[in-house]
Structures are given as C-alpha cells and as structure tokens.
Subunit: 502 residues, 2 copies
C-alpha cells in the first residue's frame, strides 16, 4: 500500500527544474497531512481491496480455483444475506414517503403512529429538514428511556445523548476533544490490543498517542489490572494519558467482560484520572450462557462514590445487534458526568456539520423504541429478532469449534459481538517467506487464503497482537450453507499451507 518515496522524491525535484517534464502536484505525499499517510484501517485494508478486485475479475470471467468471494472480513450482516427487520423498513419508508401512510393499508398502525411522532419532531414534518445537531428530540428521549430500562431504572437524561451518522463518528468526535497541542506532553489514549482499528486510525489521524494494553487471551481476552498498570506506567514518560477505551463486548476478540472485571477497570480509571470511552455497540450481541452485558454506567453508578461521578462516554449503534442496519448510519453517544461547558463545546463542534442522517435517526428510533407487546408489529418483530440472535448464537459456537479443529489453531469462546478471533501458529518457513516479502506473517496467510479460496478475513496484525503471536478475525456472519462451504475451502487451504511450509 505504501508507495515508493524515492519515485516521488525524484518527481518533486524534477518539477523544480523543469516544467516540461510532468510537473509535481501542489498536493502530494511529501507535503500532505502526514497523519493521514500514516493511519491504517485494516478492516478495509489491502486484503479487502484485493477481495474487491477478485470479485471484479470473477465477474469478468477470469478463471479462479473458487466460484465466489466469501467476505468474512466485515461486520456487515445484510451483505452476508441477513434480511432486514420488517418493522424498521416500514418505519423508514413511511418517514421517507409519508403519503404511504394514507395509501398503503397494509402498514400496521404502530408503524404509522411512530412515523408520525417522528415526523412531528422534524422541521416542516419532513425528513428533508435539518434536525438539531444532537438529533431529533423524540429519538433522544426514546434513547434515554431505553438506557434507563437497560440499566434497571438508573435514570438517563435525553439531553446527554447525541445521535450521529454511524457510531464511528461519535467515537471520533469524543476522541477529538482530547487533542491538545498546547499540552506539556502529547495526550495519550489507552486502547486494548487487539482493538478495532477505528481507534488506532483515529489516534494517528488526530496526532494522539496510542497507549496499548494487552488483553489476556488466556482468560478469554479479559482486562488485567497489572497489565493496565504496566501500560500506563511505561507510557507515562512519553504521554499524558487521559483516556481509557474499553470495547465490550469485544471487537475483534468476542469476549463479554464480567462485572468484576469492569469494576477492576473502573477502579483503575478512577485512581488514574482517566476518562472512560465505553464502546458498547455489541451490547445486544451476547451468546454465551454464562455471560451478561453490564454497562459501564450501571457498574459505576452501583459502585457509588467516588465512582458514580466518573466521566464516561458510552456508545451504541443500529449497525449491530440483530438489526445489522450498517448502511443506515445510525449511532449515538451518551455522556455521563461530562463537564457542562465541555459538552456545550462538543455540541458547537458537531453543529458545524449541521446534523446526522434523519433517516438514520429513524432507524435509531426503531432500535430504542421497538414495537411493544400487544401492538400489531410486535409478534413479527420479536420473531424476526429472536431468530437472528438464535442463529448468531449457533454460529458463534459453530465458528469457534470449527476453527479450533484446525491444526495449530485455537479459538477462545465467542461470548459476544460478531467475531471469532483465533490464534494461529504459522510455521517458521512461512514466517520467513512473509518477511522476505516485507509482510506480516498473518497478512501473508490471509492474502494466500484469499487468492487460493476467495475467503476474505482480516489478519491479526491489523488489530494488534503480542509479538510472535498470530491471529485472524473472521465474522460469524456467513449463513450456515455458506459457512460449510467456507470451512471446506479453509480446511483444505490450511492443511496445504502447513504442508508447504512445514
């Protein structure tokens, strides 16, 4: 992906001496934003790009040893064939084209009622008007009610909630608050390793310092207090560490943190004056019988003083759960104990982009204000959602077991989220081969897998991992038929790979 500096160096110097030769560009790699050059986002990185090329080659009749690409790289349920929830799409269609509510007699009355309530909160009763920058008031209120119910009655204030076009945007907006070139030392942000690369990419882009703490693979990717202490201590000379990011349930690691583990983290953060970024977008994706989702908000509130005064930003999304409405771009952040002046500045900052997608906000409404028991849409909504969650739970076990059966591969329990994250022993000869190509060994493995089988996964090096360990992330989204096919191709490739490099 990184192009040749020398070439650009040559081209630039030529442009200074001769305007006949291809002139240098005003904006080029050598003078553009160096943070943008540096940042990497592996989920849509070179492996995924190559997958797209292969799809085009297949469409153009190029012969391959496989008929299709299997995209297990991206937590994108609908792309893998998951069907949308009927209620959501009816609601969005009514909000987009309100005349349907007059003409289409098949639309359930609760859909119409909710669409009308939503539009009643929009300028000119149209989804084409800008909303207030933090979002439509009624949706923010529904979010607050949803959080209150989720946390067993601990109150949420709708004015502490801001909706965004996808959760990534909210996470990035919160991280931006910590950029401070006037700070004595560079501001550091603690992130798990492995992590979802939105974090590393955004920290690089914003010039914030990445302070990685390793998750403990041997106890199913839990957080370890000693490791948090080590990470903080070792970085404290270089960075002014002010933020702790936790992803729960974990991406790419699929763990669900226990309540005790969260309490440990909270005490660590309190002791060290850290602002907590709680990425809880997979809160509805919990499969393991022994696991339960605990929100950071609930835990700190129940821990009492001084923890209940901690500053936390918690995130949720319409892209995950059983809805999987990624393309609708609906997410939100709830702030807990945020300084009121900082919050005012936050809202001013987001106002420069006016507002988030109004139809995305309608999808968030469907997430937090679903049909109630007794309403006409309820039964179908319940049936569709339950079926998806049951199927995801089944696939979580299926993937974990199947990967663990491969030689040299072991997979921790997929307790939640949408991913299996197996570790893989890559033979020394393959490591050597990869290094000779200037590639990470698991990148080499993933690229070979793609070229040989059409299966697209993300190498562990894109998320970070302990030196000398290798992993890959596969979503659990391929439906069972496709999964069987995937497993067949994967197993053959893996065995051949081991044989070749043993």
């Amino acid at each position: 992906m990184r192009a040749n500096n020398v070439f650009f160096g040559i081209r630039r110097s030529l442009s200074l001496t001769s305007s006949i030769l291809s002139p240098g560009k005003i904006l080029n790699k050598s003078n553009m934003n160096p943070n943008v050059v540096k940042m990497e986002f592996a989920v849509l990185g070179p492996v995924a790009s190559r997958a797209g090329e292969i799809e085009k080659e297949l469409a153009n009749g190029v012969k391959k040893p496989f008929p299709n690409v299997i995209r297990a790289n991206h937590g994108d349920a609908h792309a893998m064939g998951q069907k949308p929830i009927t209620y959501i799409r009816q609601l969005v269609a009514c909000v987009a084209n309100p005349s349907l509510m007059e003409t289409d007699k098949s639309i359930p009355s609760d859909v119409i009622q909710n669409a009308k309530a939503f539009l009643g909160n929009c300028g000119g009763r149209s989804a084409g008007a800008y909303t207030q920058s933090p979002g439509v008031e009624i949706v923010r209120k529904h979010i607050a009610e949803y959080i209150t119910k989720r946390d067993g009655g601990i109150p949420a204030n709708w004015e502490d909630v801001c909706i965004s076009s996808g959760t990534s945007e909210s996470i990035r907006n919160v991280l931006k608050l910590f950029i401070n070139d006037k700070n004595r030392k560079k501001v550091g942000v603690m992130i798990p390793i492995p992590q979802y690369p939105l974090y590393s990419a955004s920290l690089d882009e914003f010039g914030l310092g990445q302070v990685g703490y390793y998750l403990n693979e041997s106890s199913n990717w839990s957080l370890d207090e000693a490791e948090l202490e080590r990470s903080l201590k070792e970085s404290s000379e270089k960075y002014d560490v002010r933020v702790l990011c936790v992803i729960n349930p974990g991406n790419p690691t699929g763990q669900v943190l226990s309540r005790e583990n969260i309490e440990t983290i909270v005490r660590f953060a309190e002791k060290n004056n850290l602002f907590i970024i709680a990425d809880e977008v997979y809160q509805d994706n919990v499969y393991s019988r022994e696991s339960k989702f605990h929100s950071f908000k609930k835990v700190v509130t129940e821990m009492g003083a001084p923890y209940d005064k901690m500053e936390i930003a918690s995130f949720h999304s319409a892209s995950k759960g059983f809805m999987g409405e990624c393309g609708m771009r609906g997410g939100y952040v709830e702030f807990l104990n945020m300084d009121s002046e900082v919050y005012m500045f936050y809202k001013k900052m987001i106002s420069a982009k006016l507002c988030s997608s109004v139809l995305g906000q309608a999808v968030v409404d469907a997430l937090v204000n679903p049909p109630k028991k007794g309403q006409p849409s309820y039964e179908l909504w319940k049936k569709e959602g339950d079926a998806i969650l049951a199927s995801l739970k089944e696939r979580a076990e299926l993937f974990e077991k199947a990967f663990s059966k491969l030689e040299g591969v072991s997979c921790t329990q997929v307790q939640g989220a949408l991913y299996a994250y197996p570790s893989i022993k890559i033979p020394a000869k393959a490591v050597e081969k990869a290094r000779s190509l200037n590639q990470e060994p698991d990148f080499f493995y993933a690229m070979q897998l793609l070229e040989t089988t059409g299966i697209c996964i993300v190498p562990g090096s894109g998320f970070g991992q302990k030196d000398g360990t290798y992993h890959f992330r596969s979503t659990i989204l391929p439906p069972s038929d496709l999964f069987k096919e995937m497993l067949k191709r994967f197993t053959k490739f893996h065995n051949d790979f081991l044989a070749e490099y043993k």
Copy 2:
C-alpha cells in the same frame, strides 16, 4: 457563550487540594482541545439557539409580542414548508422497503427500475449493508455522467468522485489533507470574506491558518485580483498558503461569478500554486437572467494548458437546488488532477468511517439521475422542480427589493444561492450600546430583532465583513405569506430601532 475562565481556574485548583469540594472534571475547558473551544459556527450560533428557546417558551404559553419564530437563518427549505419532490421520496421508500415494489401498484415503473438498479449495487441488495467508502458504484457513475453533461461533454471519471453524508463532510475531509504540523510554516487557506462559517470553523478546528480575502460588495461580491494578491502577500510571512476556497454561487452573498471573474481567479491560483476548493453546492440555484453557472472544471479545461492540469476539488449537494433534501445528508466531491497517491490516502482516511448514509446516496442518485423525458415520473418531477425554482427566483427579487427599501439598508442583487445579504447602517448609539454589552453591533441588532419580532437571521459578523460595515443574512426561503408577515414585523422593528438609537 464563552464561560468564565477564572471560575474554571478556581475550580481546578480546588480539586487539587480537596476532594470534598466539587471535584474538577478530568476533561474541562482548560485542558480540552483548544481549537474546539475557539471555533465558532454562527449559522447555528447564539441567535439560533435563542430562537429555539423562544419557540419552547411560546409552546409553554409564555406571552411574546409575536405568535411564532420565523427561521430565516438556515438554508433549510423543508423546514420552511417546501414540499419534497415526489420522485425522490418514492425512490427512497422503495430502496428502504423493497417489498413496496411488489405491493404498491401506484409506484411508477422508472422509480422501480432505478431503485432496483441501486439495490443491485448494494451488498445483499440491502440499504442496510455498508457500501464502498467512496459510495455505491452506480451512483458515482451517474454523478460522472451528470457532470459530463453539465460541462458540455468534458469527461468526468466516476472513480474521481466520492459521496459523503452531506457535503460539509467532504469539504472537511479535503481540508484535512492540508493539515501539516511538520510544515515549516503553518498552512494557510484562502477563504472569502464573507464566507460560509463551515470554513472558518473547520480551519480553526484543524489548526489551519485562515487567510481571508474580501469580496467586492460594490461589484456584487465579485472576486478582485488585487485583493487576492494583497491577501496572499500580507499572509505569506505567517502562512504557507496552499489552498484557495471559492464559493460560487456565493453563500452568504448570493452572487454568481462571471466566467471572466473565474478565469482571473484561476490564473491567480495557478501563478501561486494554489489548490482550488470550488464550493459549487448552489450550482442549480441561479435566478438572475444575466447570470450563468460556470464550473471551475469547465473553465480550467477550456482555458487549456497549464490551467487544465490544476488540482481542484468541486462539491455538490442534494440539500440545495430545488430538492432541498438537507436531512437526507447526501453530497459529493469530484477531484480534478488529484495526485493519485494523495487520492489513495484520501480514500483510506474516509474508510475509517466505513461509508456514508446509503439512503443519502439514493437521494444523490435522484439528484444526478432524474427521470428522463418520456418516463412516467418525468412530467411531475419537471413540474415540481420548475415550480420551486420559479418561486425561489421570485422570492430572490422580492427579498432584495424589500430589504433595500428599509432606511439605511442596501441589498445587492440575489443572483443565486438561497440568501440575501444586505448591508445595514447601524446608528452610532446602537454601536456604542452593543460594545457596552461586548457584542458585535450586527449581533446586537439580530438579537433585538429576534426578541422583538421572532425573526431569526444571522448577523454578518458570523460570516466576516470589512471593519465598520454591518450586514445580515436572511434566507429567501420563507414562502410568500410568511414573507409578508416577516417584512411587516421587520420594518416596524427596524424603524423603531433607528428611532431609539438615532
């Protein structure tokens, strides 16, 4: 809006000595991103906030000398009662809920055909799947065809186009490419004064230097070469100026640049190695008979070498024109002559946020691939669009004339865009009064207008203006009945204001 530093200073120092007193927040004004504290976005600034409060007060029965707020501050057509174009909403509803295409026999066949073509380009044929980060391929192709047609056959390449959730996002993404702390001097960006405050806000947020050049009010806000030279020269010691932003048709100034004027700008930019940001979101909003929209791309191409190799980013939007679909958040950027490596990094950068709103992308498709003559949706689409544009043209003249009749107010011709931007002579006593309140005189005027009449406009100080001149921006969106009412209230207030401060 800016809170008291001293208070925070005190609170912070207390927190160091006593944890019993209200403790300081981990993130507070004194240690948060100073650029976020500094940035201002006047369109949704204090006047607009106060308008929101007044609306709530009215709803709660508080007595005011007016029955309602008239929001002339924001280019938000639907909020002002403009009805959506039928074709767009039918298309979006079908994309959101494809089952409608089976059940609703009233949907025209071209809507169905376009919705199916769009969904055929989506993962799993669902608007719930992520698209490629730059957007759905078929929409990018339609955009390229649209630009090609607009520019009389000058070819556009679909791969040079990236769609975003609103145009503001694309503009900010392009500006980000120029952030470079490693640069010898701070990077400077030339922006018009007056300007749309997205620019000043984003430059502040990104730590880029704002290099203002004054538009020439006496020649209907045209750009003046001598003024561009002055601005560049005076800033060159402080900044490494690399970008020239031009807004055409102008916001807030409503001018449409002549072709000669654009050629002058182009030669200036070429001579000084400036990357051009051409904000052309109002390209479909041209009202004056003598005016015509000329894209920067067409002008540089027709000027030939060396101008046809200039680097330009040009923007368009579904929020303006006759569609006014602001809430749908659909916009795009086309890059001309962008360095291929820089473009690769750009696409990597936007990939961290995955993709823009898929339904917003469908609205962009409606903008660039409207019904064709002979298709079932064509007649209605044409009738609706023409009626809106005719009505906007009428209002452009109405507003310009009406404001010019007020004593001490003069308004340049509203040739395009959605705004009148009159200059106003504020009496010395009112200026004095404003200064005593630590307010800009036109801010004081706008706030008094709001409190007295419910009319919400944006003071000229939010866009920038020559010292000692005062202006305000009013949209031309209030429909004619509301406009009559607005003018009545406005005239009385204005005369009373002059009488009070004469």
